[in-house]
Structures are given as structure tokens and as C-alpha cells.
């Protein structure tokens, strides 16, 4: 009864193809954005912002990047962590070379560096398909991980092989470095993620998104319609890596404040992959759900026992969270292989016919 499309007729194709054609959805997204941009900075405490909201947003962006490649184009990638690393180290080198340039410009620039890496490691997709291509991305992952340690130039020959983020300002407010306030960083991350999500959504709904999905669903038929497979796949690698690169740069510059090669290793790649799977392959909202879930779960597991007065050693809590995560992944795959996004859709469907059951 609440969530009805009845009476909402569209008179132009443009309106029909809009991002949120249903009025209730439009209201919903405005409310969410209002909460995110206005309510949260005013009311949430810094711990929640710094330890939950910022990382979830950053990982959601990386998950969107991986989703574009794996969920929409069907190319399994195990190199997400490495591409994030290219963005992070790239941004670091850019700030070293161009200390005066606006940090947002540099973050976007590092995205392009990551996109270039993505194209290079996507070149084998001309000859290699499916699971075998995943091995190419694994090669990228291990090779780049190795570079992040061995190529000392990347971290400015710092003895600890780590990068420290220099202070940068935006409109005269400090946004990076040790003295940047969590709220400021949060707003910047939120803005970048919102804009990039919108752009991704535009791509998906248009011609490029269709070519990606066509390649995913049946590449032979796609070819026979006139879709150029190679260009489409490389485009997917490029855009996907761009998103991962920006996420990586933000991870270091707007959240952690420092990083080393460990932050971009194979485990990071798996983490993002889980976010995409649990959130839902081929769904942008799913990327957000997945990120929130995978990131939030260990935190919940860490603090829940204390909340209930049960004492659990932190190492044990970590082991338990591994077990729980693994079990939940399997459970999810059994119950809803299409992830949280599909559950959300089913929920909306039920809302449509509420209060009737079907």
C-alpha cells in the first residue's frame, strides 16, 4: 500500500528510463542522502565515523569497481587489492611530484594510473576466457604486491617501506594527514563515492552497460550483434580498475593515513570479492550492502560479547569471526545466491503488495 507504482505514469521515454522512476524510491534516496550528508556529521560520534562509515564507503567503492568487472561483465578478478594499491601508491607519488595540486585532482589522477594497470593486465583477455583469466589477475596481484615492497621508489625510499600521508587542504580545510578531522574526511569520501556511484549507474543503464552484460551472458551472441569483445572487456578492466584505484587512494589518504604493501595483498582482494558476492553480483546497491556487512560483521562480533557481558579474548573473537564469516557465506549461497541486493528487491516486492501476502 505504501510502495505503489499505481498512478505513476511516464509520458516520455526519458522519464521511464530515469534512475529512480518510482516516486517512493526518489523520496527514499533523498532521505538517505540527507541523513548521510547532514544528520550523520552532526550526530554520529567519531569512532563510528572513523571505524565504520568511512571504511564502508571506501570498500563499497572498491566493491563497485569489482562488480563492474565481475558482476556486470563476467570477468572474475582476483587482483582488486593490487589495483587499489596502484591507486594508493600512485596518489602518494603524485603528491610527491605535485605538492601544490588539489588533492581531489590527484585522487582522480591516481584512478587513471590504476586504469592503465588494469588495461595492461586485462590484455590477456583477448585470448583467455573465464576462470583462466582469473589467473591473469592473480599474476597481477602477486606481481604488483611484490612491486609495492621491492620498488623502493614507490614509497620514497622510506626505511619502513610504508607511506605516510602528507597534510593537504581543500578550500582551506585540512583533509588529509594526522590533523584532518574525521568528519571532514567523511564528507569528502561521501561526496566522491556518491558522485562515482551515480556515474557508474549511468554507464550501466546505457549502451556500455548493455555491452558489458551481453559479453557476460553470451559473448558469442554479443559478437554477432556487432559488439567488439576485446574493446568491451578492456573498457571494463579500465573502468573497474579506475574505481578500485580511487578507492585505494581514499583508503590511504582519507582513512588510514598511512599504508604498506600488506594493505593491498591477496587477502584484500578476497575481502572485496566476498563483499561483491554477499552483496549481490551485478548490483550497485548490493556493493554497499556487501561492504557494510563484511566490514560490520567482525566489529559486531568483537563488541557483541562485551555488550552481553561475556568475556571473550580478542584473538578468539577474531577466530570466531572467521568461522562465522565462512558459515554465513555458505548460508547465503544456499539461501540466496544473488546476495543481499536480491533480498532487498524481494523485500520491496513484498512492500508493493503489503498488506497482502502476495
Amino acid at each position: 500500500m505504501l510502495y505503489r507504482e499505481a498512478g505513476q505514469f511516464k509520458t516520455t521515454y526519458e522519464a521511464d528510463q530515469a534512475l529512480f522512476p518510482i516516486l517512493q524510491d526518489r523520496i527514499g534516496i533523498v532521505v538517505i542522502l540527507a541523513i548521510a550528508f547532514i544528520a550523520v556529521p552532526l550526530t554520529a560520534n567519531t569512532f563510528v565515523i572513523d571505524s565504520i562509515l568511512i571504511p564502508v564507503l571506501v570498500f563499497a567503492l572498491a566493491a563497485i569497481g569489482l562488480n563492474l568487472l565481475t558482476g556486470y561483465t563476467g570477468l572474475l578478478s582476483l587482483g582488486t587489492g593490487a589495483f587499489m594499491g596502484v591507486g594508493a601508491f600512485g596518489c602518494y607519488k603524485l603528491t610527491t611530484f605535485f605538492p601544490g595540486v588539489n588533492i581531489v585532482v590527484l585522487i582522480v589522477g591516481s584512478g587513471f594510473l590504476a586504469a592503465a594497470a588494469g588495461i595492461i593486465f586485462g590484455l590477456p583477455s583477448l585470448r583467455i576466457k573465464g576462470f583462466y583469466l582469473a589467473v591473469a589477475t592473480l599474476a597481477a596481484q602477486f606481481f604488483l604486491s611484490w612491486c609495492f615492497i621491492r620498488v623502493a621508489w614507490l614509497y620514497n625510499y622510506n626505511v619502513s617501506a610504508a607511506i605516510e600521508v602528507p597534510q593537504r587542504t581543500l578550500f582551506r580545510v585540512v583533509v588529509t594527514g594526522p590533523s584532518a578531522a574525521p568528519t571532514t574526511r567523511y564528507l569528502l569520501v561521501l561526496t566522491i563515492v556518491s558522485v562515482m556511484t551515480l556515474l557508474a549507474s549511468n554507464l550501466i543503464r546505457g549502451r556500455i552497460g548493455r555491452t558489458w552484460m551481453a559479453v557476460r551472458d553470451m559473448d558469442i551472441a554479443a559478437e554477432l550483434i556487432g559488439i567488439k569483445l576485446y574493446q568491451t572487456k578492456l573498457m571494463a578492466f579500465a573502468v573497474s580498475s579506475f574505481y578500485c584505484g580511487v578507492a585505494g587512494a581514499m583508503l590511504v589518504f582519507l582513512w588510514l593515513g598511512n599504508a604498506e604493501s600488506e594493505s593491498f595483498n591477496i587477502n584484500q582482494s578476497f575481502l572485496i570479492l566476498f563483499m561483491v558476492i554477499i552483496g549481490g553480483l551485478g548490483s550497485l546497491t548490493g556493493s554497499f550492502f556487501g561492504a557494510a556487512f563484511i566490514w560490520g560483521l567482525p566489529i559486531v562480533l568483537e563488541y557483541a560479547p562485551a555488550y552481553f557481558g561475556i568475556k571473550v579474548a580478542s584473538a578468539t573473537a577474531e577466530h570466531l569471526s572467521y568461522i562465522t564469516l565462512g558459515t554465513l557465506i555458505i548460508l547465503f549461497l544456499i539461501v540466496e545466491p544473488n546476495g543481499l541486493a536480491r533480498l532487498w528487491q524481494i523485500g520491496k516486492q513484498k512492500l508493493r503488495v503489503w498488506p497482502f501476502p502476495y
Binding site: Y13, R205, R207, R210, A214, A221, L224, I225, G226, G282
Partner: protein, 268 residues
Amino acid sequence: MRAPSGSGAEVAVGDVLLSIENVSLSFGGVKAVSDVSFDIRKGEIRAIIGPNGAGKTSMLNVINGFYHPQQGRITFKGETRSEMRPYEAAQGGIARTFQNVALFRGMTVLDNIMAGRTLRMHSNFIWQLLRFGPAMNEEVEHRHFVEEIIEFLKIQEIRRTPVGRLPYGLQKRVELGRALAMQPDLLLLDEPMAGMNLEEKEDMSRFVLDVNDHYGTTIALIEHDMGVVMDLSDRVVVLDHGIKIADGTPDEVKKNQAVIDAYLGVAH
């Protein structure tokens, strides 16, 4: 409605649009097609018939550029080549449907048919990102065209349904729609009536005839239902074990002894 399609010379109605000359195709040791020659004239409906394994689908795949023949030549719109590439075929105005429906299962009916318009969409990446200006105008313009096809095929109610959920007959119709969206000069249909009941077959036959009448599309059709073949087609070519055994009008072919022996059989 009929914008000029890709490369090649303009061919007049009645002239040869596609010509297959001495084409042979084998896979490893298996000879699928042996030294087959025939032509297709613009504006006609050409049926390719024969028992299973005769090489009919392989023939279509060669025309499409999916298989590359070991011998022979293909002449399309005046251009001769030893093999076709899928992209060239698509650009040149060849579209097809498949025996086992080759739709994009994760996409809706509308998206599938819109995918058929890909070749005609040119707005660049930046506009696509912004979904504004040229990109938006293009989407709307092509949406108009696709909606006409949807209306023609009477599939309005299911335009937002993911094709994986549709029954087989409707899927075949959607696939036809996607092929039509390419505005092809030559439409290759691989067993479009397979698995359909009488009513569905009549619908599909009517669509095929309308496409030929209305849009002037040349059609090459593989089909097993003899009634359909005899009623719809202008000319028929018969293949058996990869060799051409007859070529002519439906009446001529029906009376051909070799065809009766290999395929049609006699009434008992």
C-alpha cells in the same frame, strides 16, 4: 525507417544479395559442408532444409562469420571474401537467430532488443558517463525504434521481464526482435518454429512474412516443418550430409526424387 546499413554496394531487389561458392567446412576429421554453392536474392525468403546433421546450421555459421570455411568464397553485397568475420557480418547487415535461443539471460526484454541497436549508437564515453545530451538523446531515439519492434511483435507486457523467466516461445520472439533491431539486410533464422505449437507457429510465420513484406528484409530460414517451408519460402535449397542435393522453388524441390529419398519420404 530503413536507414542504409554498413558496407558494400547497394543491391536491387531480385539481384543476388549473398552468394556461396564452393564452400567446404570441416572440424578435425568431420566434414560438415562439402563444396556447397547457392545464392540468395534480395527480397526473397530462402529456405535451407535437410535432415539433421546435414550442415544447415554450419552453413549459417559460415555466413555469419562464426565458422571459417577451409575452401570457397562468400560474396555479400558485391564484396567477395574467403571468410566472414562476425563483426563484418553484423556491420554489413546480417542478423540471425539461433536454434538454442541465444538471448542475454541476465537482461530484460527491452535491454536485449536495445542491445541490437549497439552498432548504431555512437555517443562517446564521457557522454555515457553523464547520461546527458547526445547519450540521452540517442537512448530515447533508439528506444522509439525498439518500441516499434516491440509493438510489431506484440510483446509489450513483458518488456521489463528478465528473459530467463520467459517461456520458450516468447524467448524466440524476443530473439527475433533483437535481430530486427539491427535493421538487417539479410536475416538468418535457425529453426524459428522449433518447439512451438500450431498457434505459435502461425504467429511466427506471420511475423516472418510481415518482416519480409513490411521491411523488405531478405530472409534465409532453416526449418523442419515442411508446411511452413512450402508456404513461406520463395526458393529452397536442400542439404544432405553436407552436400547440396536440390535447389529451386518449393514445388520443384517437393517433386525431386533425391529429396524424397533423403528427407521427405513418401506417404504410406
